[in-house]
Amino acid sequence: MTSTPDIIAGTPEKPRRATFDLIALLAAPGLLFLALIYALPLALLLFQSLRGADGSLGIANYVAFFSEPFNIGVLMRTLRVAALTTLLALLIAYPTAIAMNRAKGVWLTVFLVAMVLPMSLGVVVKAFAWSILFRANGALNQMMQAIGLTDAPVRMLFTETALVIGAANVFLPFMVLPIYAVLQQQQASLADAAASLGAGPFFRFFHVALPLTLPGIVAGGAFVFSLSVSMYVIPSLIVGETQQNLPMLIARSFLYLRNEQLGSTISAILLIIAISVVLGSSWLARRLGARE
């Protein structure tokens, strides 16, 4: 942000403050809209989850939810799948972002198209494509049999592994891009400087490259984790009703069971997880920023 106009104009305090107030007002329509259509409904939902059947306030709904072993299982599965998806996405994304950062010309275009084009393809279509691939007579099984990995078709559709692979595929660009953005900003000369001072490749990676890219990893990881915790279409098509996650449980309680109280409570739990991820990652990002 530039401060040139202030220097040139040399304006005194008073008129300046007046224009600032006007500019602040510009945010009002958007903020009012979001407060009414986004924040208020979420606040009401949280409030609803604290209200018992008789109208009293308390955590009875949460106690009811957590005293059901089935619900705990669903919660744990949701968190586990999200953690595994985030980890798999990071393992693929990190080297990819590094290669992308070095790529030039046609290769850079190839990488960028690979990131952006899948983002423009609907998630229903992508999840559907993966469900075709994972079928017992699907392409993956045929390939594995052709190269002799297995003799008989392996059951892949409806497994957690398939779900993690499919989800990591859909969310991968959201992990690559923040890391790539951080790499683009930093100077390649830093690693060279460390090398010229005698640091070995492993020391350089863990003490120079990795800490510098941590803000990108935190941003991408938080985004992919919150997307994975709240995914609905992907598990519906890849694992189905047999292995429900929290969003599927919400949809079921509202659309099929018509149990709004249960649905609201699970929604509130999912919302609390999402908010914790947002707050936690921004706290981490601030700490990383302060350390530099």
């Binding site: 990819t96 590094i98 290669a99 850079l108 952006v116 998630v123 699907g138």
Partner: protein
């Protein structure tokens, strides 16, 4: 460069190329299945045919779903661009307390679980007596599109030299005119990128829309999942191939005018 460095580099390239193949795989599968003559997704296809493209005409309600989704995406993106421009200017230009908090708040719907937002909006709209499905969907889709617009506009305005606006005003332009004639053309890449991703996010949204639709107003992703559950034939892949073609065209235009690298970095 030491040997370990070279190994690091080669490994990162191998993984990156595998990642490209991994990302392109669903697109490839969809296109291949769309042109296959078999109704049961055998890969590779026994022979090529266009029957699933012809079959699309028999799908009832598909055209309506496409039109509704295009309508929602276009209107909500337009509204978001207006609201977003104003809000982003306030954050980039104003010097009041809580600007960072505003920026976080406006972008935060991106990180919220879609289904939870859908549930919350469903209950809220019922509470205030809003029963019209189109208007409910439109309000919801503005919430979906606004973060995408805000993210790119905030980044672009952060590096925009606002003294140009002051110069335009010194030369006699009114403030709104200076914004329309100087700021917006200068930020055209951000508008194109933010608008494009907002549009795509609206077109693709399932989890919020599912709670707000009625029998007559079904968006495209909802209709597509419904077809998949009722009768999973490759006609859907044919239709997706059409959408992929559309996306490729739009991206090609974006790449030509803005550049891919700038698009993804907002």
């Amino acid at each position: 460069m030491t040997r370990t460095d070279r190994i690091f580099r080669i490994v990162s390239w191998i993984i990156a190329l595998a990642a490209v193949a991994f990302l392109m795989l669903p697109i490839l599968i969809t296109v291949v299945v769309a042109f296959s003559s078999s109704p049961v997704y055998t890969l590779p296809p026994p022979s090529l045919s266009l029957r699933w493209f012809a079959d699309l005409q028999t799908k009832s309600g598909l055209v309506d779903a496409v039109l509704l989704s295009l309508n929602l995406a276009a209107v909500s993106t337009a509204v978001s661009l207006v609201l977003g421009t104003a809000a982003a200017m306030a954050v980039a230009r104003g010097r009041f307390v809580g600007r960072g908090a505003i920026a976080t708040f406006v972008v935060s719907p991106l990180m919220m679980p879609g289904l939870v937002l859908g549930v919350a909006m469903l209950q809220f709209f019922r509470e205030i007596g809003l029963r019209d499905a189109y208007w409910s969907l439109l309000l919801a889709h503005v919430v979906i599109t606004l973060p995408f617009v805000m993210r790119t506009l905030l980044a672009a305005m952060g590096s925009f030299d606002f003294s140009i606006i002051d110069a335009a005003r010194t030369l006699g332009m009114s403030y709104p005119r200076a914004v329309a004639k100087v700021l917006i053309p200068n930020l055209a890449p951000a508008y194109l990128t933010g608008g494009l991703f907002a549009f795509l996010a609206s077109m693709d949204n399932y989890p919020i829309s599912i709670f707000l639709t009625d029998a007559r107003n079904k968006t495209l992703p909802i209709k597509m999942l419904q077809y998949l559950e009722e009768q999973p034939d490759p006609a859907l892949a044919a239709m997706s191939t059409g959408l992929i073609l559309l996306a490729v065209t739009v991206l090609a235009i974006g790449a030509r005018t803005v550049g891919l690298n700038r698009m993804i970095q907002g």
